[in-house]
Amino acid sequence: MRATLMSYFLLGLIRFLTGSQARWWGCPPKAEQRIYFSNHQSHADLVMIWAALPKELRGRTRAIAARDYWTKTPFRQWITSAVFNVIYVARDRSSDEDPLEPLFEALDHGDSIILFPEGTRGHAEEPQPFKAGLYNLALKYPKIELIPAWINNVQRVMPKGEVVPVPVLCSVTFGAPIRLQADEERRVFLDRARSAVIALRDV
């Protein structure tokens, strides 16, 4: 109950501040299993994509969040698990477990996921080089569509170190699905995926 209220509150807030517009450029909003991957510049990115998705997709689409940061306080943990139903991943390689294991579980379960392949928030105009996770997922799940997305303007809403957000219109542009080609090398694929995201900036 409280989680539902919170989700409506956040949805309202993010729409009021950013308009949270979705632009389906290369694919329609379809209720099928997908992996969305996008640039990452702000904590609000997760909420932005989540708010931009239509209601029927929102429930089945789960974002990836770093376990160490997002479970640090009870409130952070509650908001990421009860409200957003995120998939926690470990950033440090202390355990023997494959860090992608929770993602496999979610995908096997039929959920769509939101991935920020840079691994961390960037500050430059263009996203940093992508990490290998996206490639590994593409390799293991060749049937699932990989949808690039560009989140625009969110970094202006709340730059790092500020606490009060400023209202600026933001948008999420979803591009055409890409696939891992036969015998495509890891670096080549990751660079191609990265340029697919960057290309959406100017459409």
Binding site: Q21, N153, R156, E162, V164, V166, L169, C170, R201
Partner: protein, 329 residues
């Protein structure tokens, strides 16, 4: 007919006015629906007509929303009207700021603009502090915003960045807040009818702008400032002013003005509105966008609101101050 209208109470008169406006809008909407059903013979004409219809539909939708806003504001009382206009200000400013890239150092100034200046300005309207209301933004905010920016320690394009912010505040907050201020202006023997004054202002300015647009399409004169506007030229501007002012004179009955005064007041408002619209076009050209809401680019707005209200934002303060000064209110 006229006598029986005259005998109604103020609120009944305003009610009748809304009835009329809603009827008119419904009629136009019906005509548009019929027009959109018609099948044209050839494709080029069809495309042209589709574009025209889309444009007209956009204007119509905004008109519906604006009239609804006015109506709800009138029904629910002054404070709700104030909140509604404050929201219009907020969304217009959000649009303005979206298309005027700011730097990190502007963050605090932006927070001030949205969450301090905007509410305070509308609070001043609500409490009828009209003297402070008139100078708060042009004097105090004008000086305070650069201080906040300077403290952010970023000298790059400092003057330009502050100018952008101040323009946004001036147009979207200062200009817009004068519309509800008209509602609260008290004329002797004109109680409860201030809604007419707002209606008068919106209608004459809108008429001037629409007439100017239509005349320039028929006249096909060379534009005066082609790099900024393809439709602005002196003859059609004159036609727009004439239409707006004459309509103003015809509407003198619903205002506290004599017909001559109504003509002059409408004229002042139309000059400010049409030229203000031109200025906003120049700002848009500088940003390289045809509309504040721009489908073709990554940053899109929630509806090009500023395109529809920019004329009003310029006309309202000039009209407000002319009225106040002339009648010594």
């Amino acid at each position: 007919m006229y006598q029986s209208l005259k005998n109604l109470t103020a609120s009944q008169q305003v009610g009748a006015l809304f009835f009329l406006v809603f009827g008119l809008l419904a009629l136009i909407t019906a005509v548009m629906v019929v027009l959109s059903l018609r099948e044209p013979e050839d494709d080029a004409i069809a495309l042209q007509r589709r574009n025209d219809l889309d444009n007209a539909e956009g204007v119509l939708r905004t008109s519906w929303v604006m009239v609804l806003v006015f109506w709800i504001g009138w029904l629910a009382g002054d404070s709700v009207a104030l909140v509604l206009f404050a929201l219009v200000s907020f969304f217009a400013l959000r649009e303005f700021m979206t298309l005027s890239p700011t730097r990190r150092g502007d963050h605090r100034s932006l927070v001030l603009a949205f969450f301090v200046v905007l509410p305070f300005q509308y609070w001043l309207v609500g409490t009828r502090h009209f003297n402070l209301f008139s100078v708060f933004i042009p004097v105090y905010v004008f000086l305070a915003i650069p201080v906040a920016s300077a403290l952010a320690n970023d000298p790059l394009r400092f003057l330009e960045r502050n100018a952008k912010l101040q323009w946004g505040i001036m147009v979207c907050i200062y200009g817009m807040s004068h519309v509800p201020a008209l509602l609260l202006l008290t004329f002797p023997k004109y109680n409860g009818k201030s809604a007419f004054l707002v209606f008068f202002l919106v209608l004459v300015v809108q008429t001037a702008m629409v007439t100017q647009h239509l005349v320039s399409r028929k006249l096909k004169r060379a534009p005066t400032a082609p790099a900024i506007s393809h439709s602005f030229n002196w003859p059609s501007w004159g036609a727009g002013l004439a239409a707006g002012s004459l309509l103003g004179m015809a509407l003198a009955g619903i205002t506290p003005f004599m017909p001559g005064q109504a003509f002059a007041m409408a004229f002042v408002a139309c000059v400010a509105g049409t030229l203000g619209h031109l200025v906003m076009k120049a700002i848009k050209r500088d940003r390289g966008v045809p509309l504040w809401q721009n489908e073709g680019r990554a940053t899109t707005g929630a509806g090009g609101l500023l395109d529809r209200v920019d004329g009003l934002c310029f006309a309202a303060p000039v009209f407000f101050h002319s009225v106040r000064w002339y009648f010594g209110l």
